[in-house]
Symmetry: C2
Subunit: 325 residues, 2 copies
């Protein structure tokens, strides 16, 4: 096994924390956050030392009914500016662009005219060529770029190696290891992270990690991959995200030793905004139904249906899942 | 870093799962479980392949008012037999004996007259001589024994090495690494586990791990120490245990590859007994107040008070904790 990079007391300048609360959390409430919530989260992240804040998706309004979603499904420039102005802070602004779900040639301004700093291109492994086209386009426009390859726990090792080789030759800045199904144990996650690092570090690319909490391992996997050399770490406040949610920002900030990170503002934000949001009926977080799909390395869609139907017959649901294997 | 013992697909015959729901969980409700709950949990554990079930403490009724606690604070032989009869199953019965809180020479029968198989002796590091006296006594009576050294995240390395050397020369069967404050990250937990193993494996002792979930790492730390060679793994149903609770039995059974372990019965038990128990007002599990004491490597007593007072001012509480550092 490889040596760790740094130790539990060291500060690594390559580490960047990305708050994805609005983007992954937005999947829990169709991106219907109040402006007050978004503005306060923006200020909170700045005070907490967060390096990047992801505001949402740049989805194509021709594909999605804008009436059904809050503004952060689309991240229009004017909506972003209504919150961040010119973003005079040190924190950078990120948005996500899904392959096949955005009109990127129409909907992105040149970086010089936008407050967006980074575009994260999300794709499945078979969509890498399409992702590369977008990455090169965004690079030309002047943005930092990432490629977030989803669902790799179901992809073959050969496919992943091919994808990484293609990305190593691209203009992409960061390649994300994404545990879409919360199926990784720290041992897998670290082995995968080392494979990603080995494939692209000579090309000067950084690696990121995006966790899901299906087996209550989102934080553990995040700090384990960090210790192997991953630099970009996704987290969300209280782990808010689809299904079982993500790595909790408060756990991560409490772990990192760089004194630029601090917890106070996040705690106040949790008290004033997150607890009321949960009380209003927005649901996310670890529960048995997600544990099952994580253990079985499957998409959580059936678990999400179990949750939305407010079912409590865990044993019956587990048997149903195994019947469908 | 040391090589792992086994891998994610292998079955290790040295691995033993101990369900501590009644003992650590009993700290949440003063051991007031119904007989139906206890009897069903006993049957559930047998069906699930659990190797040891810990029923509670053997506390001294002269020190504790028996009116204030349910029977599993004291684990009288007749109460045990009312549940398990002669325990004709393959699952073994464990109880815990705290140094200084039990009258061990009076309250333990010879093994030949008891359904108890294993006595777990819990102590702080400075109580090792007292623990050794108890261990040798229990060994003479015919019991399997463990020594669970608590709060080692605050003990000096030299003290721990001394304690392990003394235990290596004793009759003890298993030595537990106990993360009382939920302060360990997987990296610490594994380093500690390797230190324990190195100190006592030549003497033929096994190592156990008992996690607390203050930083949502109880399961992660358990499987990480397992991969380094720890054999005895404590868990509780739904992680029920003092404060932030323990490693969840369902996560652990879902992880282990030995086909003797299975989830179905535990899931049914959760539906029928654990969910109603929570709904009745018994409180445990991860929350921010426990995260703070875990991050600060402190006893959770202030966090438990915060919980019982139903406070929600996390930021203020965090500041109070730091003021008391």
């Amino acid at each position: 096994m490889a040596v760790r990079k740094g130790n539990l007391m060291s500060v690594r300048d390559d580490v960047k924390v990305l708050d994805a609360t609005l983007r992954d959390g937005g999947l829990c409430n169709n991106f219907r956050f109040t402006d007050d919530f978004v503005r306060t989260l923006y200020k909170t992240n700045i005070k907490s030392g967060v390096d990047y804040m992801e505001f949402g998706y740049k989805a194509d309004p021709d594909l999605f009914n804008v009436e059904e979603y809050g503004p952060w499904k689309f991240c229009r420039e004017e909506d972003l500016r209504a919150i961040v102005g010119e973003n005079i802070s040190d924190m950078k602004i990120a948005v996500m662009a899904d392959v096949g779900r955005c009109n990127f040639r129409r909907d992105f301004l040149p970086k010089s005219e936008s407050v967006i700093d980074m575009v994260r291109v999300a794709c499945y492994i078979h969509q890498i060529p399409a992702a590369l086209e977008m990455i090169e386009y965004f690079h030309e426009l002047g943005y930092e770029t990432t490629c977030n390859i989803m669902a790799v726990s179901q992809a073959g090792g050969y496919q992943i190696e091919e994808a990484l080789a293609m990305l190593a030759e691209s203009s992409v800045d960061v390649i994300y290891l994404v545990d879409s199904y919360g199926a990784f144990y720290p041992e897998n996650a670290s082995d995968m992270a080392l494979m990603y690092i080995k494939a692209v570090e000579e090309a000067g690319k950084k690696i990121g990690f995006h966790a899901h909490n299906n087996q209550n391992l989102a934080f553990a996997n995040t700090i384990d991959t960090l210790s192997r050399g991953v630099s970009y770490l996704d987290a969300t406040v209280q782990g808010m995200g689809r299904g079982a949610g993500n790595c909790a920002l408060e756990l991560l900030l409490g772990f990192l030793k760089n004194p630029k990170y601090n917890l106070y503002s996040v705690l106040t934000f949790i008290e004033k905004y997150m607890i009321p949001l949960r009380e209003s009926g927005v649901v996310w977080g670890f529960d048995l139904q997600y544990m099952f799909t994580g253990q079985l390395n499957r998409h959580p869609r059936e678990a999400m249906a179990f949750t939305s139907q407010k079912r409590g017959d865990y044993c019956e649901f587990y048997k149903e899942l195994l019947d469908h294997e």
